[in-house]
Symmetry: C2
Subunit: 325 residues, 2 copies
């Protein structure tokens, strides 16, 4: 009922809607309508109530509420099944793995306004302040071999970059394998985890932390020189809901393309959106250490680096890279 | 206390041990000793009680009890931490994944006398009658990349084959990638599952179903021509406990070798224990279908098959193989 009232308000956003009209269309008492309006206000909806003219929706809350996400969502799978929504959570990836183990649908998503133990790759943490970003995990059950899973990270990076460019006009790019940067600073991190047999993937969880409306001085000091946000990059606040919907739509499109036609087109898009290719980099970690020019990724997503002697191959996790100073 | 009494009985297996002696050594009343003896009998221990001479251990139960496993176990990790033991369970792999998610130690194991939903690769079931086999799952946290995980299956196959050959003298061999056969019939199936980030394995669960003391007519009819057991192969019943301890010890040895020296020695052992290499096979499934001679496995564990035209590469899960009729 609350959803029906909200839909009526939304469809009449520019004019007042009388309590009588709502009561008639939804066959509900005026008192019940009043109570629902109070609940909506408590959830953060700004609703103007005029004694004679009725109700008018002034603004929806800046929250990623499941009903708001599904409204106008242009997907058939992602976000159309379970949306697990939290005010605060340890890590959306942890919750997503829990739900996947309990047997949720492919395309289920986990969202939280804040994460208190947001995770990056390996054991790094991810700063996830309340209401300021999109802290999202997506559950997929792809028909790939486990060895193809790293390419799902590349796929997610492509989809998110395209969505960000379309919605915010911020010309961000992908640092191999799965960070999204703007002018060298991190805007998005992606953490993919999988559960697999040797033969088949049971599920993968694609987690992403997207810094949307975080001011420079809101970042902890140690992050200010290496991280930024979309609002900083574009100079204006960004509607999280619109961006989230665009990301889900892009991701579903890319995913379906890969399932139908394989990875090669996605890898080409990745190459075009990359800020790593063509760059002189230092490769660090593991037992190897070298510098060279990142010349390409191969069909497995391995980074190829031309050093003075030969072409080095870098697998994610093996070695980390940074631009040569 | 029960364990101490059992140890005393075990160390005096050929003679009677007086209640007075036990009472003195363990500082416990005669009545308490009598009660512990009743509990041990209920657990399946055969204990002879002679009015004047005392107690004597005649046999231990044919059960894979954690205390019995740890007694004389020659490992430092496998089976030395948690042993989750069940009379009946859906699947030891499911339980192992649950325990791994809750944060158990590396080397923890799950055992059940029976499985009511034992699983083989993909969605196949595994016949797991009570007390007749070793239905075991092992939790490892290897420092490998996820792309190395399939080799853990090969490693398990090597260790189990070696342990079986040593303990039972049954000359079984490995069918690529992870079945253990005797005269073409399956004796052991291995199902490895992993939980990983793109960079690192969180944990792997190596599940194995070992047909130990199953008579031919105890198998469901549809399995009689394709499966067999160690008791059938050797013509006598096999002590499950001894075999289990040998498997854990071999597996730990192989695992430590791989961590210290890499996979190449293990892959050589695999080649020697394989019944697939040198065999003319039909490869089936997927979009490809061809016949050829299995000539080798490469460093990733991929099977190389020489057809008339070229060398085909087979990844587990991609295609299944069977001997050419």
């Amino acid at each position: 009922m609350r959803k029906s009232i909200l839909n009526m308000l939304r469809n009449n956003a520019n004019e007042y809607l009388s309590g009588e009209e709502i009561s008639r269309q939804l066959s509900v008492s005026r008192t019940a309508i009043w109570k629902h309006m109070q609940t909506l206000k408590q959830a953060g909806y700004e609703i103007e109530a005029h004694p004679r003219q009725g109700y008018r929706l002034r603004s929806v809350p800046d929250r990623l509420l499941p009903d708001e996400i599904r409204d106008q969502l242009k997907t058939t799978m992602l976000g159309q099944h379970e949306i697990y929504y939290f005010d605060d959570i340890d890590s959306t990836n942890n919750e997503a793995k829990k739900q996947a183990n309990l047997g949720c649908h492919e395309g289920a998503i986990v969202l939280s306004e804040a994460q208190n133990r947001g995770r990056g790759r390996i054991a790094r943490s991810w700063f996830s302040p309340s209401g300021k970003g999109i802290w999202l995990s997506i559950i997929l059950k792809p028909p790939f071999l486990p060895s193809d899973a790293p390419k799902c990270t590349l796929l997610a990076a492509v989809a998110v970059t395209k969505a960000i460019r379309t919605i915010t006009k911020v010309q961000c790019g992908i640092k191999w394998p799965n960070d999204i940067l703007y002018k060298g600073k991190k805007i998005v991190g992606i953490l993919t985890e999988m559960n697999a047999e040797m033969d088949a993937i049971n599920y993968i969880v694609i987690g992403m932390g997207i810094n949307v409306n975080i001011d420079k001085d809101e970042f902890p000091e140690e992050l200010r020189e290496i991280a930024t946000s979309l609002s900083q990059a574009s100079g204006q606040p960004i509607a999280r809901l619109t961006l989230l919907q665009a990301i889900l739509a892009e991701l579903e499109t890319e995913y379906n393309k890969v399932i139908q036609h394989g990875f090669s087109q996605m890898l080409d898009e990745w190459r075009q959106l990359s800020v790593t290719l063509g760059q002189t980099i230092d490769a660090l970690g593991g037992s190897r250490q070298f510098s060279g020019v990142a010349i390409d990724i191969d069909q497995d997503g391995t980074l190829l680096v031309q050093t003075e002697e030969k072409i080095e191959r870098i697998i994610a996790g093996d070695i980390s890279i940074r631009p040569k100073v």
